[in-house]
Subunit: 456 residues, 2 copies
Amino acid sequence: MPALNRDGLKIIQLDVKDVRFPTSLGSHGSDALHTDPNYSCAYVTITTENGKQGFGLTFTCGRGTEIIVLTIRALKRFVLGKNAADIFTDFASFWRAITNDSQMRWIGPEKGVIHLAVAAILNALWDLWARIENKPLWRLLVDMEPEELVSTIDFRYITDVVTKTEAVQLLKAKKSGKNERVKYLNDNGYPAYTTQVGWMGYSDELVKTLCHKYLNLGFTHFKVKVGVNFEDDYRRCSAVRNHIGNDKVLMIDANQAWSVNEAIEWVKKLAPLKPLWIEEPTSPDDVLGHATISKALRPYGIGVATGEMCANRVMFKQFLQSGGMQYCQIDSARIGSVNEILSVYIMAEKLKVKVCPHAGGIGLCEMVQHLQFWDYASLSGTMEGRLIEYVDQQHEHFVDPCIVENARYLAPKIPGYSTEFLPGTLEKYAYPNGSEWQRMFKEGIFPPPDEAELVN
Amino acid sequence: MPALNRDGLKIIQLDVKDVRFPTSLGSHGSDALHTDPNYSCAYVTITTENGKQGFGLTFTCGRGTEIIVLTIRALKRFVLGKNAADIFTDFASFWRAITNDSQMRWIGPEKGVIHLAVAAILNALWDLWARIENKPLWRLLVDMEPEELVSTIDFRYITDVVTKTEAVQLLKAKKSGKNERVKYLNDNGYPAYTTQVGWMGYSDELVKTLCHKYLNLGFTHFKVKVGVNFEDDYRRCSAVRNHIGNDKVLMIDANQAWSVNEAIEWVKKLAPLKPLWIEEPTSPDDVLGHATISKALRPYGIGVATGEMCANRVMFKQFLQSGGMQYCQIDSARIGSVNEILSVYIMAEKLKVKVCPHAGGIGLCEMVQHLQFWDYASLSGTMEGRLIEYVDQQHEHFVDPCIVENARYLAPKIPGYSTEFLPGTLEKYAYPNGSEWQRMFKEGIFPPPDEAELVN
């Protein structure tokens, strides 16, 4: 791509808002460990001197969003006053700087609160870049030369699996056919699966209704939450298997409920229901545990999926190296944004592991579609065994919501990374001062926040 | 121990303060990645109805401490109004609750900011417990029955390495001789090593002076920071080796500077200087990387040490399982306090890995001495190949500072966990309103904090 014109691209403002949705009222998003999430986000707006804007967010589950907001404020100084063109020209150095502040890295490093905050800021910068180039993010990535794309990645700590040179080679190897694959994506989109049928808090009747709804919508892959009570799991999974039939695919998700041996025993007993994968069987930090579980479940034809709480590229590297992950579930807002996610895709391609992005939380479907579209066009060149998670919640709040038709994500067409909120959403759901929250406090639906939790 | 009397033990207050020391002015604490730390902490005071108090802290490096403070406030609700006796009676359940809030665990879980905040609160609770029992913390632990001690630990995610039953057995196996070992500790203390001679920012002349100072103080083990520039490392390590002689022990510490292969090559070239261990050669999250490095350096007689940034017991478990860690450097304020640290000691004992605690940061020497004393008395029963890190900084701020004489930590005698600050320290170093900080802002030594970084 031609070099960016720096004129007017000095970043003069970075705003951050705490935005929460009362999803716990309907048990939407409930699972073994997250029993009452209020799907939320820290929402960043970056503005340049010439009025260009970038919008980025990190997903949260309600309480604690104020901590991410404060952390984003503490990281502002890395962005304000910088010229966006300079950031994009040497993006890996900027990434290293913002993730490795000599004092703040102690409270990370590159994990948890700090990394979620970094993700929101960098997501806004990638959105800004795509808007400046007047392209949806996936096309910005697809149009980059391999060297250019790889220049955004910090390879520290992953060179034992893939070097910069190898990364360029992997991308070059897929240059032929790229235009045809872009056309295919524009014409056909990308397959999705649904998690909507089996949230932990849903009644059997609702599960049945939803199975038929999503079958009618053309879905072939259905995910169900498990992990609290075995008999309950068996009953609910059997019901879903009956509703969808044996020609469709069932996945199960324990959201970290088990210790290693418990996971193996529990899932073996669910094996007759033929799940494709068990997702998050144990601690998201337990690489060796996942490898043990993967090995034990291989004879049953059940793979292990994980990644939504995988802290960074170093953890992904080990899951990929160890055989602990047969389905790599990158998340778009937990690790260090596109820069770091690209490195995970590249390691997965080298080690031949399928990437099936995690989505469902606020803005995640909107973001991961761009990444997976890029992967098909530029890196893996295949959709085989790959799907993007889809949950039909909160899309109505976005200017450019993802569109899923016939169980396929349609190609995003509007410039950017698709996570700009509609103005009405901020007015209603900004926490705690949005009009909907004020109404719910007044009506006693939620208690107002404790003073201790307020940033200011 | 007899059951606690609940009377008056309802917790009615939890205060938290941001306390920072301007250590960057003298390069004290500087290393490859932390070039200008201001040693700091979030400092918690818990008060019961009858006026009992517990003091706990988590160490930080300056910027970002305000984030920990806000997080501690968000976690207050787990503590306020609870009876402390009820917490201690079923400590593992309390631990699970505060580390796994259904909404806040998303921004962890059990790592980084959230876990550092939890550590400060739990450290204060352990201090409170020891004060109520009128014992220094190590004696509180030593006097517990194995079943009682183990009841404070959450075994989720580690039962593939050690179960509760096995933990009890390991403790029972060392019951005989415990009283003699307690007496030995009271009479002789526990060996220490010094990190004071080789901070990255120190001049050659200062390094020489300090080597001789610590030799004269009786130290036999000396640690030097490495990892920025090889020639510089070789020169500095050779100098220290010359100053201390071949009968003393040299350790080196890279503070995560390298990728895996780079670590191996760099340390091999320092092998002629006979370091005992290389500490933090690469990312603190890279279990498999550490295992690769350990294997490559074994023929050179160099072990791998790590742990100060190890996120939780699940990460420690893997380092211990994989052979990636020959020296287990538990930290007293990064993982979930004594409850979780005990589980790491127990896994290390089972897998026969030596524990050499990390210390040096604010209050860390004060805390880890208690843990290592307990380990010698009750669990490992040996000091062989084990030492406690010692850095002679900021001890003057504590009511009950650690005392190191003849390169040995002396047994703590005052009830509690030894991390209560003197009142004058809070008056001077509370950030940003303490009198020393106000003076330094006025004199232009440090800029005043940006409004964005203030909690309120």
